[in-house]
C-alpha cells in the first residue's frame, strides 16, 4: 500500500475581529491508498475545516498537505486546479446546480476540462448507471429526493476519475435508511474503483458501517487514531468513549441511572459493563459466570453489533457478589479477553 494523503503538522487559525480561533492544531495524519478513513468528532471539533485542508478549500496557516507525494501548498493556482481533479468532494447539502439537469450536473466537471461531447456523454452515462440514476438523467435536482441528490453529487465528484473522494457529512441530511444505501454505494465505489475515501461525520454509525480506520477529532486536535475495531473494542480518549456511548446506546435509562451510586451501601449489587469481541461473543460467558461463581447475574442492558464480519457484544449486568467475588469475576472475565468497566452499585 502506498500513501495517498499525508498531513504534516497542519494548523489552521481563523482571525475574527480581535479573536483567534484555532480550528486545527498541528494535525499529522497519513491515509493509505484504497482506504476508507473516517474522521469523527462533535460539531465544532474542526472536522469540516480539516477535510477542506485536504484540497485546500481552506489553506492551512501552517504545515504541509501531500497528495500522492505532491505538496499542494507549493502549487500555483493553475497547478492546484489540476490537482483538484484528482480529489472529488461530496457535501452535506449536495451543492448541485439547480438550473442544470442531473446529466448536466454530472457533466459539469468535464465541461470545465473542455472534454468533447461524446466523451462527456459516455462518461456521464456510465456514472449514472453506477449510482443507479440512469432513468433520472433529465430530471432537475428539485425533482429528486435527498438520497438521489447525494447520488448525483457522488457521480459528479467521480467524473474526473479522482483518486480520492472527500465526503463532508455526506449522510447528515439523510434519513437512516437512505444513509445506509449511500454508504453501501461508497463502499462499492471504494471496492470497484479503488478510490480512497475520507469520511467526515459526527455519527459513529457511519464509521461503524464502512470505515477501516478512524481518527477522533476534538478541539482541533486528533485525540485518537485507530482501526475501527480497536476503537470500538477499547476507546482510549474521552471523546471517543462519549461518541461510542451515544452510538451504541449505552446510556442506561434514567430510572436505572438514578438508582446507581458510586459507593456501595449494604446489600447493593455491583454493576459492570462488559464488552466482548470476535469468537468470545458466541460463547456462553454469562452462563459460565453463574456456574463458576455461583452468583446471580441480571442483565440490565445489552447490545450485539457486527463490525464488518466481527461480532461485538456489550452488556450491562448487575451481580450478586461481594467485593472479593467481584474481584475474581473481573479477573475471570479479563482473562477471557473481555473488557470490564465498573459502572457503580445498584440500590434496591
Amino acid at each position: 500500500m502506498s500513501v495517498m494523503i499525508e498531513l504534516r503538522n497542519v494548523t489552521k487559525t481563523f482571525h475574527a475581529k480581535d479573536q483567534e480561533l484555532h480550528a486545527i492544531q498541528s494535525v499529522n495524519l497519513t491515509i493509505q491508498s484504497g482506504e476508507i478513513f473516517g474522521i469523527i468528532g462533535r460539531s465544532g471539533a474542526g472536522k469540516s475545516t480539516l477535510v477542506r485542508c485536504m484540497n485546500l478549500l481552506e489553506r492551512p496557516t501552517k504545515g504541509h498537505v501531500l497528495i500522492e507525494d505532491q505538496d499542494l501548498m507549493t502549487l500555483s493556482p493553475k497547478e492546484l486546479r489540476q490537482a483538484r481533479h484528482r480529489i472529488g468532494m461530496v457535501f452535506q447539502h449536495f451543492n448541485l446546480l439547480s438550473t442544470r439537469t442531473v446529466f448536466q450536473n454530472v457533466a459539469f466537471p468535464l465541461e470545465l476540462l473542455k472534454r468533447d461531447r461524446d466523451a462527456i456523454h459516455a462518461k456521464v452515462t456510465q456514472l449514472l448507471t453506477l449510482v443507479g440514476l440512469s432513468d433520472k438523467a433529465h430530471h432537475y435536482p428539485s425533482q429528486l429526493s435527498g438520497g438521489q441528490k447525494q447520488r448525483v453529487a457522488i457521480a459528479r465528484a467521480l467524473a474526473t476519475d479522482p483518486a480520492i473522494l472527500l465526503c463532508d457529512e455526506m449522510t447528515s441530511a439523510l434519513d437512516p435508511e437512505t444513509t445506509l444505501s449511500i454508504l453501501e454505494l461508497i463502499d462499492d465505489i471504494n471496492e470497484k474503483l479503488g478510490v480512497t475515501i475520507v469520511l467526515i461525520t459526527h455519527e459513529m454509525e457511519v464509521i461503524k458501517e464502512i470505515a477501516d480506520r478512524v481518527a477522533v477529532l476534538e478541539n482541533g486536535y486528533i485525540v485518537e487514531e485507530a482501526n475501527v475495531f480497536e476503537l470500538f473494542k477499547a476507546p482510549q480518549s474521552e471523546a471517543a468513549k462519549k461518541l461510542l456511548t451515544k452510538a451504541l446506546k449505552l446510556e442506561l435509562p434514567n430510572h436505572l441511572k438514578e438508582k446507581i451510586r458510586e459507593y456501595p451501601v449494604n446489600g447493593d449489587h455491583p454493576v459492570l459493563r462488559i464488552r466482548f469481541f470476535g469468537d468470545i461473543a458466541s460463547k456462553p460467558v454469562i452462563d459460565d459466570l453463574i456456574k463458576h461463581f455461583n452468583v446471580e447475574v441480571n442483565i440490565l442492558q445489552g447490545n450485539l453489533e457486527y463490525l464488518h464480519s466481527d461480532m461485538m457484544g456489550i452488556l450491562v449486568i448487575s451481580i450478586t457478589a461481594n467485593a472479593d467475588v467481584l474481584l475474581q469475576v473481573k479477573n475471570y472475565l479479563r482473562e477471557r479477553n473481555i473488557v470490564v468497566e465498573s459502572v457503580g452499585y445498584l440500590s434496591h
Binding site: 484540497n55 478549500l57 486546479r81 489540476q82 483538484r84 481533479h85 480529489i87 472529488g88 468532494m89 457535501f91 447539502h93 451543492n95 446546480l97 439547480s98 438550473t99 442544470r100 439537469t101 459539469f108 466537471p109 465541461e111 470545465l112 476540462l113 432537475y140 428539485s142 459528479r156 465528484a157 474526473t160 472527500l166
Partner: protein, 214 residues
C-alpha cells in the same frame, strides 16, 4: 394627435430600451465586481469594494432631474447634443446602471456559498465559477431586477421632456397638463399603464423560464 401619440410611444420605448441596454452592459460587470470584491469572495478587496460601493451609492442618491441637468456637458460629449431623444438616453442610462449594479450584487449574494465551494473543489477557475455557476443560478433574480429597472426608467423618461427628449410623459405634460386636454392625459396614462403591465408580465415570464427547473 394619433400620430403624435404613436411617435411618443416610439420615443419612450427607444429611450427606455437603449438606456436600459447600456445600463445593463455597464451595471452587470460592475455588479459582479462589487460582489467579487466583497470580504471572503473570489477577489476580496475591501478598499476597492468600499470605493466602488461609495461611487454607486453617490450616483444613486442624485435626484434624476438634477442628474440630467448636471451631466449636460458629458451628454454633449457623448452624443454631440444636449437636446432630443438621444440626449435623454445618456442621463437615463446614468441613473439606471448603478441600480443594475446593486441588483446584480444582491442576486449573486443569494447564490448559496456551497455552490462556489463545490465548483472550486472541482477545479473551476474564478471566471468559470462566475460565468457557468453564478450567473446561471442567479438569472431569475437578475431578470426580476432588470424588469424593475425598466419600469423605473419608464417613470424617469417622463422627465426627459425637460431636455426635449419627447416620449409619453412629455406628451401628457405638454397637452394634458399645460393645455388642459384631459383626454390626452388620460390616454397617455392608460398607455403607460398597459406598457408597464406588459413589461412586468414579460419579465416575470422570462424569470419563470429561467427558474422553471427549481
Amino acid at each position: 394627435m394619433t400620430e403624435e401619440i404613436i411617435l411618443a410611444i416610439g420615443q419612450t420605448l427607444y429611450m427606455v430600451f437603449v438606456a436600459g441596454l447600456i445600463a445593463v452592459l455597464i451595471g452587470l460587470p460592475l455588479g459582479i465586481l462589487l460582489w467579487a470584491t466583497r470580504p471572503q469572495q473570489l477577489f476580496a478587496h475591501t478598499g476597492f469594494n468600499r470605493a466602488l460601493g461609495f461611487f454607486i451609492n453617490a450616483l444613486r442618491s442624485i435626484p434624476f432631474i438634477i442628474l440630467m441637468i448636471a451631466i449636460i456637458p458629458f451628454t454633449r460629449l457623448m452624443v454631440g447634443t444636449s437636446i432630443g431623444t438621444a440626449a435623454a438616453i445618456v442621463p437615463l442610462a446614468m441613473a439606471a446602471f448603478p441600480f443594475v449594479a446593486r441588483v446584480m450584487e444582491n442576486a449573486l449574494v443569494e447564490v448559496p456559498y456551497g455552490l462556489i465551494e463545490a465548483s472550486q473543489a472541482m477545479g473551476a477557475t474564478p471566471c468559470q465559477i462566475i460565468y457557468k455557476v453564478l450567473l446561471r443560478e442567479a438569472m431569475p433574480s437578475i431578470v426580476n431586477g432588470i424588469t424593475l429597472m425598466i419600469v423605473t426608467l419608464i417613470g424617469y423618461s417622463a422627465m426627459a421632456g425637460a431636455v426635449g427628449g419627447g416620449g409619453l410623459g412629455d406628451l401628457a405634460i405638454r397637452y394634458g397638463y399645460e393645455r388642459f386636454q384631459v383626454s390626452v392625459m388620460v390616454i397617455t396614462v392608460v398607455i403607460l399603464i398597459v406598457m408597464v403591465q406588459c413589461i412586468q408580465w414579460l419579465g416575470d415570464a422570462i424569470a419563470r423560464w429561467f427558474s422553471k427547473s427549481r
